[in-house]
């Protein structure tokens, strides 16, 4: 009984700080009276609780004594009540004991309509109680077990209730008339149902239709709102623009947006993975720099520090290609494997001689090579004037 050991320690602490007056215990089952009395007398709370329970069930004296104790004692010293997951059950058990004690007392004193009435009534009451005991919140994982327990609980509760009521009715001799009345009621209800069924059916169908219509209407409104904010706006911009390149850019951005909306690729807020971040970055560079970015990503990982570094260097490489290569398309390939992140940025444009780049042009050495090197990676740049450029970025993956 480890639980009792903990309770005893608690009681000892309270005892040292005991006031002269009888104070209820914070370590309580019902009101803390038994715990308080135990502190006062220096005995185990369990002993006092047992005594109260026994005297309550045998004659009801315990209930009277407990009530008196509650009246003469003072509330416990301030402080949060000890919270214990077992408290709830103990409390319910105590209340059940108290109710049982009151019943036993009533029976002893003579305030009793007779066992044949009270037992079925008790069964019915327990049935109702069982039906309504909450099972507590559950996670989705054990929802099936929860459902099964709930069904069992309902069945038990309703069974008890029906048994109680049935037995009560049969003992009071009213069952025969109840049967007859039930029959009459069934006939009337059945007749009414036949009479009203078509109308009722129509009503239900109308309600259903209305609901479906409302849902459709809501969906239509949502789609209309989205199209207005995106596609219509873009079409207006395209009409007003007389620069074909700008028109194409707008159309491309709109196409991407609409596609991610239609096929569920959209990410709310900032992208959380490298794949999504590359897609978003590619779309942004496309609309800012008038170039088609064909980004293919294989594998994925969360967007951590290394991935951000790669992303930044990747972006810089694409922007470089868009600015200087004189192409309308840049191919990007990103691969995530167990050990490293690899990215290739390729264009078939002008190309350049890496050795001939003047020292004051810091773009490639700082934003790409330096950035990747600081994170422990490497860069390979291949370019031939006239045939194009490919940059290869490699970064070891961070260990998790």
């Amino acid at each position: 009984m480890a639980g009792w050991g903990i309770l005893c320690d608690d009681a000892a602490v309270t005892r040292r700080a005991a006031l002269p007056r009888f104070s209820r215990s914070r370590d309580r089952v019902l009101a803390g009276v038994a715990g308080g009395a135990a502190d006062r007398w220096g005995v185990e709370p369990a002993v006092v609780r047992a005594a109260v329970a026994v005297t309550s069930l045998a004659g009801g004296l315990g209930v009277v004594a407990y009530g008196l104790g509650a009246l003469v004692s003072v509330p416990p010293a301030s402080g949060a009540a000890r919270s214990s997951p077992r408290r709830d059950h103990r409390r319910e058990l105590a209340i059940a004991c108290a109710v049982a004690a009151v019943l036993v007392a009533a029976r002893t004193v003579g305030l009793w309509p007779g066992d044949e009435v009270m037992l079925p009534a008790a069964a019915a009451a327990v049935g109702v109680a069982v039906t309504w005991i909450p099972l507590g919140t559950t996670t989705a994982a054990d929802s099936r077990r929860h459902l099964a327990r709930r069904a069992l609980q309902l069945a038990a509760g309703i069974g008890l209730l029906i048994a109680g009521v049935w037995s009560l009715a049969s003992r009071t001799g009213g069952l025969a008339s109840v049967g007859a009345s039930l029959g009459a009621i069934a006939v009337v209800v059945g007749g009414l149902a036949m009479f009203a069924a078509p109308a009722l059916g129509r009503l239900l169908r109308t309600l259903d239709d209305e609901r479906a219509l409302r849902i459709r209407e809501d969906e239509r409104a949502a789609v209309a709102a989205h199209l207005h904010d995106s596609v219509l706006q873009s079409l207006v911009l395209i009409q007003r623009s007389d620069d074909p390149r700008r028109m194409a850019t707008l159309a491309r951005r709109q196409e991407r947006e609409l596609r991610s909306w239609l096929y569920g690729g959209a990410q709310p807020g900032d992208p959380a993975t490298l794949h999504a971040a590359v897609a978003a970055m590619a779309a942004a560079v496309e609309s800012d720099h008038d170039v088609r970015v064909e980004a293919v990503v294989v594998g994925d990982q969360p967007l951590d520090e290394r991935a951000r570094t790669l992303l930044a260097a990747l972006r810089e490489s694409i922007v470089n290609a868009a600015r200087h290569a004189e192409v309308d398309r840049v191919d990007v390939f990103v691969e995530v494997d167990e050990a490293e992140l690899t990215a290739y940025i390729r264009d078939t444009g002008r190309g350049f001689d890496p050795a001939a780049v003047p020292d004051d042009r810091r773009g490639i050495s700082d934003s790409i090579v330096g950035r990747v090197a600081r994170a422990g990676g490497s860069t390979v740049l291949q370019s031939t004037p006239g045939t194009g450029t490919e940059i290869e970025l490699r970064l070891p993956r961070s260990r998790r």
Binding site: Y263, E294, V296, V297, G299, D331, F333, E335, R346, E390
Partner: protein, 219 residues
Amino acid sequence: MTVRVVLVEDHALFRAGVRAELGELAQDDEPVPIEIVGEAASVDEAIEVIRRTRPAVVLLDVHLPGGGGRAVLRAFRDESEPPRFLALSVSDAADDVIAIVRAGARGYVTKTIDAAELADAVARVDGGDAVFSPRLAGFVLDAFAGEVSAPTDPDLDRLTAREHEVLRLIARGYTYKDIGGRLHLSVKTIESHVSAVLRKLQLSNRHQLTAWANERRLV
């Protein structure tokens, strides 16, 4: 010899666009031997038009009223000499693409493809080759992620090291010709590697592919 093509696509505007672009190409100095012999906007219409015109290549939209592009592929699965199908879609979703290729399409291109690339893709499909866009190569690498089999191992569930290399180069944006130059192989060899990958994609039991197929009730 002209390649006879049927265009299956539910948007009239897009059909008109493809027709116009391919026509424009034909007027250029490089004659592109493509003739569009029929158009269809739904599954049933497509089956009827293809049976009637007997094209060499069908440009097939993935999303089509009446069952999607796969319903068309299914209708011709058991024929002795079915036309070759090239899937065409705005969808970038991996499962859509993998599903249509597994159902028998010889390749997949996105609708953003330009006319010259499309004409080239049609000609290659007509020649019996598989057409891998960089995106499709990426999807396939994803689906076959993991170990690479030995060159002599005909394991369907793995790619050989060479096939893996070729796919990665396609994903990086290289053409078959570029890849051949880089790997010191002929274009024909590259094409046979790509066709082998397509076959593996269509026959593999690999669990990602099976999962995709199950989801779409393909099996």
